[in-house]
């Protein structure tokens, strides 16, 4: 269904009014820039309460079915909410792995029991989800994962280790890719996909400190951890297909995500407003012809990304390379943001060297932190270099 422009406009007004009333004030402690950097109980409690509040108001998972906690509305409504969250500088909606990957996956491929058990609690933030795909020796090469799951009666016994498990130390559940059959002829056929509990004996998440100085990642160790056999999603040995579907949601290739507000939104306008008040050689930074030209480059990149996103809906302009624009979004967008943040962090004179915690840092060290944090986007969900391979092989048809 497509709702009228007038209805959407009225809705936008309603949401804006709600935000003005309900977006929480600065709590007085540092909030994470993205869902990848939730590092303290204080942050967790604050964000959990905020997500619950947004969902209770009916503004989260708006296009998900009502029987699982959604509103059964057109996706345009959630898009408006996300825009308004960004516009009101609202704290992030942090249960991202649940909201954007697991939820859509379950609605797409899950059984009735799985949907009923998990989906609503993802929206309400009653249950936090993490993802167990990458391993210390297998990051981008997921097909090679070694964590073992051996069936014993009505349980699987899991041994091994997962890494970069965002929210792992707080999570209630993990989407786990593990090897159930090491003897399978194709390595992919030996993998199974589990909706694993996290709070069981033998599973331990150890926080890892990041380049930003913050936490959020974990290494998760499985030592004879026993999980119910009913946690298996799909068939044993059919995990690869489910994992690939998950990555489509993670990479934004397939729609259905509950909220786009998983990180503090940084726009080209923020960059230019920041640089406009800075000086260099005793003059406004923006009077420097080289800086001006650099900024034109960034503005063009920002505009090209927006235009190409819109062009995806003009089908006649997408026939030469089907899926090409969709597959390019992460490749282009994340790299553009990384360079844009690095640029802004580096144009502050001696203050470029200051970091979060220094009273003289430009905007509290925001840009320096944002630059480092952005590697979560250029590495997570498949590195830029892997994305380039995917585009080369799937869009341009080049050989592996």
């Amino acid at each position: 269904m497509t709702d009228s422009k007038a209805a959407l406009k009225a809705f936008r007004g309603e949401v804006a009014a709600w935000m003005a009333e309900n977006v929480p004030a600065d709590p007085g402690f540092l909030l994470p820039l993205t869902f990848l950097e939730v590092g303290t109980e204080q942050q967790l409690d604050f964000l959990r309460e905020w997500q619950h509040q947004l969902w209770s108001a009916g503004y989260l998972g708006m296009h998900w079915p009502t029987e699982y906690g959604g509103q059964g509305a057109d996706p345009a409504y959630q898009f408006i909410v996300d825009k308004e969250l960004s516009r009101h500088n609202a704290p992030i909606i942090f249960n991202t792995i649940g909201l954007n990957w697991v939820g859509p996956l379950l609605l797409d491929m899950g059984t009735e029991e799985e949907k009923a058990q998990y989906v609503k609690n993802i929206l309400s933030a009653e249950e936090i989800w993490c993802q167990g795909f990458s391993e210390p020796d297998h990051g981008s090469d997921l097909g090679a994962v070694q964590t073992r799951a051996v069936k014993e009666g009505d349980e699987y016994v899991v041994n091994g280790s997962k890494i970069w498990t965002t929210l792992g130390n707080y999570a209630d559940h993990m989407i786990l890719l593990a090897r159930t059959n090491p003897a399978a002829e194709r390595k992919y056929d030996g993998l199974s996909f589990f909706l694993s509990p996290m709070k069981v004996a033998g599973i331990e998440a150890h926080p890892i400190r990041k380049v930003t100085g913050e936490y959020g990642f974990n290494q998760t160790f499985f030592t004879d951890a026993r999980i119910p056999a009913s946690c298996l999603m799909g068939e044993e040995g059919g995990g690869w297909k489910v994992a690939m579907k998950t990555l489509e949601y993670e990479r934004g290739v397939t729609a259905g995500q509950a909220s786009g507000h998983w990180g503090v939104t940084i726009q080209i306008d923020d960059m230019i407003n920041e640089l406009r008040v800075l000086e260099q050689d005793g003059e406004a930074l923006l009077s420097d012809p080289i800086v001006r030209d650099d900024l034109v480059g960034f503005m063009m990149e920002a505009k090209a990304l927006s235009l190409s996103a819109r062009r995806m809906s003009v089908s006649a302009l997408n026939t030469d390379y089907p899926m090409g624009l969709a597959l390019s979004v992460k490749y282009r967008g994340t790299e553009y943001e990384r360079r844009m943040k690095q640029y802004t962090a580096s144009k502050q004179g001696a203050r470029s060297a200051l970091y979060v915690g220094d009273a003289d840092a430009v905007r509290g060290g925001f840009w320096q932190r944002a630059y480092f944090s952005n590697f979560g986007a250029t590495i997570g969900g498949g590195t830029t270099q892997v994305q380039a391979n995917i585009i080369a092989e799937h869009v341009l048809g080049l050989p592996k």
């Binding site: 306008d269 505009k303 090209a304």
Partner: protein, 378 residues
């Protein structure tokens, strides 16, 4: 607070979509690359039957209004046609004729209906603009004196060798005017052909000294028509260049999928794969800008959003085509270095296109002023 102008309109009308299909089909069937190659060293650079077909399909009048004999579809509708022509590296004087039509129409309107009707009907037009090699300054060197006679030369006049109508940008007592000159008014030795880097294109220097124009367009509209026509020239060149970049990309991917070295298809090497992806992404960027431009340019004087769109389209198309042409030669190895390889055509097209209607730096400098100094944004 600064707020980046966010006109993001991008659409394709049914007519534009049909034109894209028809023009691509025409190029594929009527002007395969062998036919284009056969024209590289001929005098005109194109087959007259190709031009006749274009005229019969109405392409010379697509963007001119009904009342002067055109199709009234607006200049945005020329964009898919030029993208398709670029995709086949097919020259022809269509770009020159389209630009001449736009300049006359925007400066004189229906008062020049006869001239515009002739262009719609298939006579070839061109704008004689440049006094020098600099796209960034006014052209005031060619004078129209009180006796009604022209004096001076124009440089790099596209398709001058075949043009029936020259739209000469002249200076009358310090004011820009358009002098419309018939081909038969030129002296027999008025033209000296340029040796262009792109052999699918033609241009010449033209001496207009002593010529009395058949008609002169005067008035305030001349200056704004000139400004807008240069921007439209940038947009249409960007469309053509984006088409060429798409074709260049497929020539690269075809080679990478078939050529083996060290026992492997060379397309499996990331050193070749990743730059090819960047060509693809750059081409899609340029295409988005081009169709954004096609969506917002209109018969009315161009808005500042349209100006931004035309300039960005040109920058994006130049950048990707120069990169694509350059890498096409390199990735084809020794064969890429030869005349037989189509990469030769692409790299030459890239070097031709990147200067037309101003290069990337020309436009970026103006974009900086438009986007960073505008009071509304500041």
């Amino acid at each position: 607070m600064f707020s980046y102008p966010q006109n993001l309109a991008i659409s394709l009308t049914e007519e534009q979509g049909m034109l894209l299909d028809v023009a691509r089909g025409f190029v594929r069937d009527q002007a395969p690359i062998e036919a284009v190659r056969a024209q590289l060293e001929t005098e005109t650079g194109y087959e007259s039957r190709i031009w006749q077909s274009m005229v019969e399909m109405g392409w010379t009048g697509i963007s001119l209004p009904d009342e002067v004999g055109g199709a009234g579809m607006g200049i945005g509708s020329a964009v898919p046609v030029f993208e398709a022509l670029g995709g086949g590296l097919l020259g022809t004087p269509l770009l020159s004729t389209t630009i001449a039509g736009q300049l006359i129409w925007r400066a004189a309107g229906e008062k020049a209906a006869d001239w515009l009707g002739r262009l719609c009907g298939g006579q070839i037009g061109t704008v004689a603009l440049l006094d020098h090699a600099d796209w960034g300054v006014p052209n005031t060197g060619l004078k129209l004196d009180e006796t009604g006679s022209l004096s001076g030369r124009k440089h790099f006049v596209a398709d001058a060798g075949v043009a029936d109508i020259f739209v000469v940008v002249a200076n009358e007592n310090g004011t820009p005017v358009l002098a419309l000159v018939e081909r038969n008014a030129l002296a027999s030795d008025a033209l000296s052909e340029n040796v262009l880097i792109d052999l699918t294109k033609r241009a010449a220097n033209v001496d207009f000294t002593g010529v009395t124009p058949a008609h002169v367009v005067r008035g305030d509209s001349v200056a704004s028509a000139l400004r807008d026509t240069l921007l439209l020239g940038a947009l249409l060149t960007a469309a053509e260049t984006t088409g060429a970049a798409g074709r260049c990309l497929s020539s690269i991917t075809e080679y990478l999928k078939t050529r083996k070295q060290f026992g492997k298809l060379i397309g499996s090497y990331q050193a070749l794969k990743h730059p090819t992806v960047d060509i693809y992404v750059g081409m899609e960027n340029a295409r988005s800008f081009v169709y954004h431009g096609a969506t917002i340019v209109a018969d009315e004087p161009l808005s500042s959003d349209a100006e931004v769109a035309c300039r960005m389209a040109k920058v994006a198309a130049d950048d990707v085509m120069v990169y694509a042409g350059d890498r096409a030669v390199q990735f084809h190895g020794g064969f890429g270095f030869t005349w037989e390889c189509d990469s030769t055509l692409f790299i030459r097209r890239a070097q031709w296109a990147q200067q037309m209607y101003g290069g990337a730096i020309h436009h970026r400098k103006r974009l900086a002023a438009l986007l960073l100094d505008n009071e509304e944004n500041g």
